[in-house]
């Protein structure tokens, strides 16, 4: 069944208790769609085992 993305987004936020300004619903949905697409491409090569905590160690080990 086709759904209206801006309504879906507003419904999602409503579940979080946040009332989305209706004037912004369409734009926000589109923005998140683009964002997700770029990130999907960027993260598809990530190793299965990588977890966020690795970053702090790399930062420390990257110092001189």
């Amino acid at each position: 069944m086709p759904t209206d993305p801006k309504q879906t987004y507003a419904d999602l936020l409503a579940l979080e208790g946040v009332t989305l300004d209706p004037a912004r619903a369409a734009g926000v949905g589109e923005l998140l769609r683009t964002q997700l697409e770029v990130e999907r491409k960027a993260t598809q090569a990530l190793a299965f085992e990588v977890e966020p905590a690795c970053f702090a160690a790399t930062l420390r080990d990257g110092s001189r």
Binding site: L13, D21, R24, E39
Partner: protein, 469 residues
């Protein structure tokens, strides 16, 4: 000293220690300048004249009694209004927290107090530090000291504006997506965003706990070194603060820069660069070359995805922190901040976590592909000529996302990577507004950036220029 307001924080501290002037004299000079600057630039939220004068006199009395004067002894400072002082309200640029007393004093403030600095006020900022232009719809927009029609950059807008106007010697700012470096560039002052974890965030208003950093804006790179020296180091109150030892940044300024390798990014940072800014950046590279630095082009990884991942992390974490107020008091946010928080509330858990997972691989790639070849990367702070306040007054409307992405494009990947970056003024754009460059370094290599920036300032005089009265 004949013109106290012309001196840097370092010069003033030296003069106070040598008893050539006093903390009270410095405070008496800066308070009227601050009042006057505020009338024109709207850069302060509060100035505590009585308290500041009493504190300055107490500092003088302590020095007279022979108490060891700290490295920032008697230097008047005002800070971004998001550093908590126990019992006092920090507005954080918002309507929501303006009357909420802070439970404890920020570690960065405690450390500046211990170094002898005297706080005389708090500064305007973007609402909840969530905006890069310097607009504030609750406290009024902060204005650029070089031309009040133009933006200051944000979110440390009052810090950039007041320091540039010689109405403040130095200020604490914060940088989650450019909020120190942008005002430094737009206002013509120096500012350093330290490595994530180098400076404690305890008692500073959070925006994005994975990306927030605390750092100074000041007239000179030497002042930034003094400030960073005072505030850096591990803090039990901030679990993310690093245990790595803090080098002597101030002593390190005297070390030579000859032979250091500076990279010019072959892509991303120089895309669509305004010709006026390009010319100034090239001139700054000529200066660094004349100091004996080796300038070489360096290929860099694709930063667009990192920029977007950084945006997702900030958006999601900000929305989480603000979730109660967003539910209960949405009308108390400006349109722009509310719109951005609404976007963050829609970032999925998978998207957020994958963005965090990407950070490690991105940093490893940056270290291997870039920092193995150069000691620092030289890049613009923004790619376009400084716009006016009116031109960027987009609120939460349709143009908002595009504008904000443009302003933060060269900033946010650096926050995503957690790296240190120093912004240094390097001249004036054709329409008279200042311009800066950023130097991006290895993790925890703030000392090298400060050394390079200080050497550049010893060879140039941009940091001594004063805006029109």
């Amino acid at each position: 000293m004949s013109d106290l307001l012309a001196s840097s924080a370092a010069e003033l501290a030296r003069a106070i220690r040598a008893r050539k002037t006093s903390a009270a004299e410095a405070m008496q000079a800066v308070l009227p300048a601050a009042r006057k600057a505020h009338e024109k630039l709207n850069c302060f939220v509060r100035i505590d004249e009585e308290g500041a004068l009493a504190a300055a006199r107490a500092a003088d009395a302590a020095i007279a009694r022979g108490r060891a004067a700290g490295p920032l002894a008697g230097v008047p400072m005002a800070h971004k209004d998001m550093y908590y002082r126990e019992g006092e309200a920090s507005s954080c640029g918002s309507k929501i927290t303006r009357d909420r007393p802070a439970p404890a004093t920020a570690t960065a403030l405690k450390r500046l107090d211990a170094a002898g600095a005297v706080q005389f006020g708090v500064l305007n900022m973007t609402e909840f530090a969530y905006g890069p232009t310097g607009h504030n719809y609750h406290w009024g927009h902060c204005r650029n000291a070089w031309n009040p029609d133009y933006i200051t950059g944000g979110s440390s807008s009052g810090a950039g504006s007041s320091v540039a106007a010689r109405a403040n010697f130095a200020a604490l700012g914060s940088d989650t997506g450019g909020s120190i470096r942008l005002p430094a560039h737009f206002c013509g002052v120096a500012g350093i965003k330290p490595t994530y974890g180098r400076v404690s965030r305890a008692g500073a208003m959070p925006l994005s706990f994975s990306m927030d950093t605390v750092g100074p804006l000041a007239r000179t790179v030497e002042d930034c070194a003094l400030m960073l020296q005072a505030i850096a180091g591990q803090d039990p109150a901030d679990a993310t603060s690093s245990a790595l030892p803090v080098p002597d940044y101030v002593a390190g300024l005297a070390r030579p820069v000859k032979g250091l390798r500076i990279g010019i990014p072959a892509s991303y940072f120089l895309d669509a660069l305004d010709p006026g800014i390009r010319k100034l950046l090239e001139a700054s590279l000529d200066v660094l070359r004349s100091l004996g630095c080796e300038i070489l082009e360096v290929a860099i990884p694709d930063m667009d995805a990192w920029n977007r991942a950084g945006t997702a992390i900030i958006a999601a974490e900000a929305a989480a922190l603000h979730s109660n107020w967003l539910r209960e008091r949405p009308q108390d946010y400006s349109d722009q901040v509310r719109a951005r928080l609404e976007i963050g509330a829609g970032v999925t858990a998978t998207q957020y976590l994958n963005a965090l997972r990407l950070r490690d691989a991105a940093l490893k790639a940056w270290l291997a592909e870039v920092m193995s070849k150069v000691d620092a990367v030289h890049a613009p702070v923004v790619a376009f000529a400084t716009p006016t306040i009116a031109e960027t007054d987009v609120g939460g409307g349709a143009k908002m996302t595009e504008l904000l992405a443009l302003v933060t494009r060269l900033m946010r990947p650096v926050n995503f990577l957690g790296l240190p970056s120093l912004a240094v003024p390097c001249g004036f754009q054709p329409h008279g507004l200042p311009c800066g460059f950023q130097l991006i370094g290895r993790p925890f290599d703030e000392g090298l950036l400060l050394r390079l920036g200080h050497a550049y300032q010893r060879a140039t005089d941009w940091h001594t220029r004063r805006p029109p009265a």
